[in-house]
Symmetry: C2
Subunit: 332 residues, 2 copies
């Protein structure tokens, strides 16, 4: 059954109707969505207008960011929205609304689309996010999604990448390398489908909204980024934007437990594997950062230095330069 | 020369640096863009927070919305942003910021990308719009762009599709059918490149921001939409959302002057051809709508009726049902 563009639009409308919040004044069905964003502050003493708007956009392209033979549609939909939510988390923001642009090839089954939407909307509901609009089109090839997430943060309180200072401690939430380990498994064992529950961080990554919010509300983090490109690359972004360097203690890095045996993943995957969607942040030494925030372990893994280089320090104290290796999804 | 993702990101950053406005607090180079939208109102007596945010997203996909052999890159870039700006115009809004997600195939020339950006940024500057962020990726096939435009409008003043009332007059800005005429020319004369200047409304459509703003500021329009899908389809959207019908006087429709001879285009193209990006709006009979707004002719072409049907009325008074034919870009 071919999915026509009109049917798709009707479908997106229905999705949107099941996910509403106070921010959305007029949603799908007009030229634009009209948003009236409510104050995110718990105490409203600072009055209206005292917040900044956060916006992030992320592609989820078949063959680049997901594969139909590897990712069930619920996972593809979940990951599509998670990418955007994680960017909001990395600013310490509160997500408010999402906009989904979705181009589908003529041969896609309506069932696939519905499951994709189910995965996306389940995550949206969990975070109180409205699906407020988007666009639909025929795709010239493959499934093409682009997610826009809009959030809010008290005025001037967004946690940027650029404010890390020498002497700050370096922290990461959760564990690293789990998502890349799943990709490795799928590339090596071509015939076998992975057990989704053995690789939850890859198939259903949970954006760290509450961790980011806690850090912002308690004024703990000086700089923050989410680990979408991998620790080595994302730390390089913080260092570059802040004009600083860093040292990581390799034995402090929390290695994800993956696979049937729940064994720790390889250090190389934890250093360079992307798409863990954890929060990597810096905090002044004077700040006391809890070991667990909103149920998520938070680990100190190193420190920010004046010298603009990134080093890995092993248990014996030996230092080696850590090069940002980037993360090219499945094109390794 | 292959364009790497990293080079692309650097390029988008450079583009963004040349187009800045007061709304952008922190742009490309962090997880999200941080926007602090200034009041759009000329008199600020109503204070802060008295505005709604408008958001619209639109795909521009190679092979669906443009073709590399037909559209010079400047035109593809201009049209990409024009689609979003036109949606803001159709709400009576002021555009503030744009976000470009761009996926490119490995074989694309940097020159193409730069010319695409030049076309897009020229239109952005004209309307005071900041390119505030976006995403870049390798494309699995073809050039894939998704534009997000964010705008503002005084609180509760967005002109919706749903407020047309029986008895209202029906108006359209500019001329209709010009864009579809260009597509017709290109489909028929496969060998010949069209003369861009003979089809300006197709290659460089000017979004009607000032017309929409005037109508909103003077409280003239009861309902409004832009003619992206074609008069018959877009009028059907207004009628459906408003629960009304309409009559169009066929000899009142302003036919675009196209081609070498600048002759009027076919009535069928004016009725059903999409992508003219004009404003179609309704106004109560008591309102005096100027014949020219912001230099653009505005023509009364019919009226809204209680009966939920859309009719075309010819010069002799003969009525025929007008069916929405939709507009499938180049897939006709």
């Amino acid at each position: 059954v071919p999915v026509t563009e009109k049917a798709l639009i009707a479908q997106v409308r229905r999705w949107a109707n099941v996910s509403h919040n106070a921010a959305l004044h007029t949603g799908i069905g007009d030229d634009c969505a009209v948003l009236r964003i409510p104050p995110v502050l718990r105490n409203k003493t600072k009055g209206k207008g005292s917040q900044d708007i956060l916006i992030t956009t992320d592609f989820s392209l078949e063959g680049i960011h997901f594969r139909r033979e590897w990712h069930p549609p619920e996972s593809a939909g979940h990951r599509c929205l998670a990418r955007g939510l994680s960017d909001i988390a990395a600013m310490g923001g509160i997500p408010v609304a999402a906009f989904l642009s979705l181009a589908l090839p003529r041969d896609i089954s309506p069932k696939w689309v519905q499951s994709f939407a189910r995965g996306l909307l389940k995550l949206a509901r969990k975070h109180g996010v409205t699906l407020a609009g988007g666009d639909t089109a025929q795709s010239p090839g493959g499934i093409l999604a682009d997610i826009v997430v809009l959030g809010a943060v008290p005025k001037g309180k967004a946690i940027l990448r650029s404010q890390a200072l020498p002497g700050d401690n370096l922290y990461v939430s959760g564990e690293l390398g789990g998502s890349a380990a799943a990709v490795g498994f799928m590339q090596e064992e071509r015939r076998k489908k992975p057990n989704l529950r053995e690789y939850p961080r890859h198939f259903f990554p949970e954006p760290r909204i509450e961790v980011g919010r806690f850090l912002r509300e308690n004024n703990l983090a000086s700089a923050m980024i989410d680990t979408s490109d991998g620790l080595s690359t994302d730390l390089a972004h913080i260092c570059e934007e802040s004009g600083v360097g860093a040292e990581i203690d390799s034995d402090l890095i929390p290695l994800a437990l993956v696979g049937k045996s729940s064994g720790p993943t390889d250090l190389q995957l934890a250093l360079h594997g992307g798409e863990d969607y954890e929060l990597l942040f810096t905090a002044p030494r004077s700040k006391k950062v809890p070991a667990i925030i909103a149920g998520v372990p938070v680990t100190r893994i190193g420190r920010i230095t004046r010298r603009r280089q990134i080093y890995l320090v092993d248990a014996s104290g030996r230092r080696s330069k850590l090069h940002a290796q980037g993360w090219e999804h499945f094109r390794r």
